[in-house]
């Protein structure tokens, strides 16, 4: 069924999400296959974060289903979905500022059998981000933006996710750090984690993605292989600035 033969990991089918009376997502269909890296693009307030919250169960869609690993998880709690293998690097990182780096990582491992995180989990994250080991006893709120981004990624990876959701990982980072963080994203992706990356930085996001979707006020207006989207006239005008 799928282009590269990989099975579907996440599928949104006919999703309508509301905040109160306001219709935010309209008839959204979106898929992430196993091992895939998918970008979700769109301007401000187009519903990107709402899509991720719907996937996680932080908001309930009025219509439609969320399928994850072949299971309909639409009515399930966020905890359940995370236990099944989702994780998120939230918009603005949302670290626990008054807690240490180590404790933040432990929160990422909250649902692991040993909730404090096993030694190997920490080692894996520390290998990816050696700085976090040095800073493990520092309060997360006192780190620089780039360091906080590392904690947010490390925290999400503590639970061995099958699907990593990232909400604007490049936001607020200096250009050099944006490149560095995209390198790390690729590295994590190559270790077999599927990803859905929300970005405003469309060039960067499409350059590492397999496929992309473009949202505009809650509707998908474009989708396809990343290479095609990069060349697409409308997208170039609207988002790529060239």
């Amino acid at each position: 069924m799928s282009v590269n033969g990989a099975a579907s990991l996440l599928a949104l089918v006919g999703i309508d999400t509301y905040y109160g009376q306001i219709h935010i997502l309209e008839k959204l269909n979106l898929e992430v296959r196993e091992g895939e890296l998918v970008s979700l693009l769109g301007g401000n307030a187009s519903g990107k974060s709402t899509t991720l919250k719907t996937i996680l169960g932080l908001v309930q869609p009025r219509n439609g289903t969320v399928e994850f690993r072949g299971e309909n998880v639409t009515g399930r709690t966020t905890s359940y979905r995370i236990k099944r293998g989702m994780a998120i690097v939230p918009e603005n990182r949302r670290l626990f500022g008054p807690m240490t780096v180590l404790e933040n990582l432990e929160m990422g491992a909250y649902l692991n059998r040993d909730g404090r995180g096993r030694k190997e989990d920490f080692e894996r994250v520390y290998t990816l981000f050696p700085l976090l080991k040095e800073r493990r006893n520092q309060l997360a709120g006192t780190l620089s933006g780039g360091e906080q981004q590392m904690v947010a990624m490390g925290r999400a990876l503590m639970s061995h996710p099958k699907l990593l959701l990232m909400d604007e990982p490049s936001m607020g980072l200096a250009p050099i750090l944006v490149e560095r963080s995209f390198e790390i994203i690729q590295q994590v992706h190559q270790s077999g984690v599927a990803m859905l990356i929300v970005e405003q930085n469309a060039n960067m996001a499409l350059s590492i993605a397999d496929r992309g979707y473009v949202l505009s006020t809650g509707r998908l207006v474009l989708e396809g292989p990343a290479g095609q989207l990069l060349e697409h006239e409308d997208l170039r005008k609207a988002y790529l600035g060239r």
């Binding site: 966020t78 995370i82 236990k83 949302r94 404790e103 929160m107 990422g108 909250y110």
Partner: protein, 308 residues
């Protein structure tokens, strides 16, 4: 200087302060996690005092207890703490959780409603008359002293067990998985659920712990002062709340410090200030106002920390 008076006042101030600190902890923990002033908390403390009384009487009463006195006292504490913990969980479940996303004034009104509900239920079920723990028959009138400092057994018990409970709570919040989840949830509830933390369970646990501490405080107060009645939670709750605010609402060490300060201030005011035994509350609340004017976020409170 009359040192013997000073030490008496200090000891009774620390005793009262221990009770207020335990009450203040419940206020501050719930505020920390829900930004809710749980005005029913003082009445949970009152229910704790009654639960201790019932446990005492189920165990044969103060004159002929069916077990050794210390075991009876331990069971009174345990029963009151578990019953109040359960009550706190029920209050959260039925009076606050349905209003979780309502404007903040709504759960506050609900809290006042629960407070009246508990007071009047106690009046209906337990009657309007005072009940007596009769600590004298249960544990005697023995006192311990170091030089001029005299402590009765209930005072010693109150201070020591309050310190024990506060150390236990501090370790729980600092070290355990649920304690860390409580801190994470009170800092950013949505981010906590993004980690898979079951926020409802964490909030329920917070109510259980805070209410159990109030239950212990009720038994302590009753062991020291003897008498309990359905309205006793009002003033004690207000003082616990004062203590939490003085210490910096949301801060656990702040609640402990605030409780001791309020207890000591009340005791010294009673002994030293003009007409103190009548107007001690005037002095205590004047202290609250003074401290808040000087430090609006309380002694150990932080002026609104920005989320990162």
């Amino acid at each position: 200087m009359n040192w013997s008076l000073f030490w008496d006042l200090t000891v009774s101030g620390l005793t009262l302060g221990s009770v207020y600190a335990l009450i203040a902890l419940g206020y501050t923990m719930v505020y920390g996690i829900l930004k809710l002033l749980n005005f029913a908390h003082g009445d949970v403390y009152m229910i704790g005092a009654f639960m201790g009384w019932f446990a005492l009487h189920w165990l044969g009463g103060p004159v002929n207890p069916s077990a050794t006195a210390w075991l009876v006292v331990v069971l009174m504490f345990l029963f009151a703490m578990v019953a109040c913990g359960g009550l706190g969980v029920a209050i959260e479940r039925f009076a606050y959780r349905p209003l979780r996303n309502a404007p903040r004034i709504a759960p506050l009104i609900s809290a006042l409603g629960v407070s009246f509900f508990l007071q009047n239920s106690a009046l209906l079920l337990f009657g309007a008359s005072f009940r007596d723990y009769d600590t004298f028959h249960l544990i005697g009138a023995k006192t311990y002293n170091y030089k001029d400092i005299f402590l009765s057994v209930p005072q010693l018990l109150t201070i020591v067990s309050a310190i024990g409970l506060m150390i236990g709570l501090t370790l729980l919040v600092a070290r355990t998985k649920i304690g860390k989840a409580m801190r994470a949830t009170s800092f950013d509830r949505e981010a906590a659920s993004m980690m898979g933390i079951d926020v409802d369970r964490v909030i329920a646990s917070t109510f259980f712990i805070g209410s159990a501490l109030a239950g212990a405080a009720g038994v302590m107060f009753a062991l020291v002062f003897g008498q309990i009645y359905h309205f006793m939670g009002f003033l004690a709750g207000l003082k616990g709340f004062t203590a939490a605010v003085i210490g910096g609402i949301g801060s656990i060490p702040g609640a402990m410090l605030g409780g001791l300060l309020v207890g000591l201030a009340e005791s010294y005011a009673t002994g030293y200030l003009p007409q103190g035994s009548t107007f001690q509350n005037l002095y205590v609340f004047a202290l609250l106002i003074l401290i808040i004017l000087i430090r609006p976020s309380g002694l150990l409170g932080k002026a609104d920390v920005k989320k990162v």
